[in-house]
Symmetry: C2
Subunit: 409 residues, 2 copies
């Protein structure tokens, strides 16, 4: 959707108009996170009164999204194991677990360590650790947290992990990362089966099952095509799982899927749980993938994550400058969506500033006014911020530290 | 250069081969920043032995860059006031000041506050503060730091600033941000002159001069075109400065320019200092702008900033997966340059993983091997990391906290 035509962009933005009902045009103070933390118990602070750029999550939409995914996968006879790479935030992981998730996933070890330090226990790390230092840290984490599960995708790595588990005095819970595509993972079929057998025989590892994540399927445009891709993408992993079953190997976990395929992943035989991440927030990329009923905007989940910015320049006709550029939004394509302004094109191509061009706008903007954007792609944006302001009815209800912000190691 | 043809990319990468002489193919430990900090005094740690992705600066190249810019602008009769938005790092600002810079610039107030807390005093904030809370904080900063200079680009904002200065019991040093293009700044000519007069008359402001930054000129492809653009871009601001001189207004500061134009900015009459930022690090964007002698690779400065990553997957021919994706490199276009591997194309399109494709490689890569990239665009990449490893001869010499990391407000 990077090359979605203007008409598609316009349609997407139109679909977002509903969220923009409230506007507070008074001069704003611009409270910092520290000021909000100090004041929040005593006085209500409006999201329009935050220092900008500010990363905000609308709690009503966010809670609906968590409940909606949980209800749907439960109805489909599988479970949710949301991927925390999206939010990196202990407060959010906790809400997902309270809603019924059987665990969370992390992509990186440092992410898992940070979330565990904040009390999150059932963690499945979906990538292997390769360096000796990292393998050792993973087993220290396992020692402190018996609910930690580690992916492996390579025989040498499985042996190293078993050695590190022995050193740490633990038996590590392990899942086989089965490749879908070429990115990571052991190839499905004989290689994967051999690795599963190896894990089963290694003295300090305990085989729990397999992962098969098809990242490429998540953003396929159009529901029917996406469904077909999801099912065909997992077919080889499903056959591997069956071979594991026949070999008497444990397949209690067969995890994968995401926000784009969560409603069809259960159709893959033996599939146990969905690793969706973005569904809690949504973003312009996911809004564009299309819905089951054929509608162009994917509406299973409601956009809850926004960046509030300040208008820095209104001197030129049909043009605004904001204080939210690449360091506030990461990507420039797909465009951020300006809430309530379907006619605006948001260019975050500069590091510090966003440039809006438009032929028509819902209102006129003064220097200092606030403006709100749906982000292009939620995961890397959250990774830029130290905190997320949790908002209800435009008031700050909580300030959530982004626990694993910057933990890309 | 986002659309540079493959041949150009290849040429750029070839130009980087020299930096890749040393390779340590032994199994690596993967030291975390905390481990490096604890061990650095006792044992040497190789940059190849860091936990990845790791942001590294080669000190020899970095020091050469600082010396080269300082020498050139001094020879041209002007000064350096490097922009700290690029590095956000007190340790680097300190080196720039020690080398002769007359100050540093910051783009955001929170950046200025963070750097001042680490002892950096001569700071010019190149953007106006609009919200009352921010204006007040700026004047608190001015109260603590008499070397703080604040840009303004709007009459109402100048009055608010004067009021806040009075409240803080200070007289604020102010520069007029004169627009080059449409992004920020008061239009050159009458508007700018009127604003300068207003600042001169407001009781708690002290006029110091003007800024005129032409961001669009910095990346113009080809030296001659870039020089012409830089000079024409600043012509209106230069005329404004002359009008200010005639009106008896202070123009001791006439600051602008950047890494792409630092060698021609002195040709603008009255110009006093260059705000270059990226020159300390360089990146794929700046390497592509072309050199004074017509060579396609801009070689005034040497690439010093790299991300070291780990090879996660080598199972497929002509293809590697690394652990450095969008959360480690921000941008996918222009491509990151793989040091020593002119034939490799680096795709950072996925959040957690980089995908390398190639037809030929200088060596073969095993899972766990390290690989090093020149980043697409340095500023937003630095903003992702908590620390920069300062490297000399492949050894970690220091670990520099990125003081203002994430300070986009």
């Amino acid at each position: 959707m990077a090359h979605a035509p203007a008409s598609r962009r316009r349609f997407l933005s139109t679909g977002l108009t509903g969220a923009a009902a409230i506007w507070v045009p008074k001069p704003v103070h611009g409270y910092t996170a520290a000021e909000v933390r100090a004041a929040i118990a005593d006085v209500g602070i409006s999201k329009w009164d935050l220092d900008t750029p500010a990363l905000c999550v609308d709690l009503d939409a966010f809670e609906r999204n968590i409940a909606a995914l949980q209800a749907r996968v439960t109805r489909n006879g599988i479970a949710a194991r949301p991927h925390a790479k999206t939010h990196k935030t202990a407060a959010i992981a906790r809400r997902q677990l309270e809603a019924g998730a059987i665990g969370i996933c992390t992509a990186k070890l440092s992410e898992a360590e940070a979330l565990f330090r904040e009390g999150i226990e059932p963690i499945c790390m979906t990538t292997g650790n390769l360096a000796p230092g990292k393998i050792r840290r993973a087993m220290q984490l396992r020692k402190a947290n018996r609910h930690f599960i580690q992916a492996v995708d390579e025989p040498g790595n499985a042996r190293d992990l078993s050695d590190a588990a022995r050193e740490a005095g633990v038996t590590a819970d392990v899942v086989i990362d089965v490749a879908v595509g070429t990115r990571t993972g052991v190839p499905a079929g004989d290689d994967a089966l051999a690795l599963a057998r190896l894990v089963e025989t290694l003295p300090h590892l305990r085989l729990r099952g397999l992962l098969a994540y098809d990242g490429g399927a998540q953003h396929v445009d159009g529901f029917a095509a996406r469904k077909a891709r999801a099912l065909s993408g997992l077919a080889a992993a499903a056959a591997t799982r069956e071979a594991m079953v026949r070999a008497g190997l444990n397949t209690e976990i067969f995890s994968g899927g995401g926000t784009g395929t969560y409603s069809v992943d259960h159709l893959t035989p033996g599939f146990t749980d969905v690793q969706a991440g973005s569904y809690v927030f949504m973003d312009m990329q996911y809004l564009a993938i299309g819905q089951e009923d054929g509608a162009p905007v994917y509406g299973d989940f409601t956009p809850s994550l926004t960046v509030v910015a300040t208008v820095m320049n209104n001197r030129f006709p049909n043009r605004l400058t904001t204080d939210a550029g690449a360091k506030a939004l990461t990507l420039n394509i797909p465009r951020a969506g300006v809430v309530g302004e379907p006619g605006m094109d948001y260019n975050a191509g500069s590091d510090e500033f966003g440039v809006i061009t438009f032929t028509e706008a819902a209102r006129s903007y003064r220097i200092g006014d606030r403006i709100e954007m749906i982000v292009p792609h939620c995961d890397p944006v959250v990774n830029l911020y130290d905190q997320i302001y949790a908002i209800r009815n435009d008031r700050v209800e909580a300030v959530w530290p982004v626990t694993a912000r910057g933990k890309s190691q």
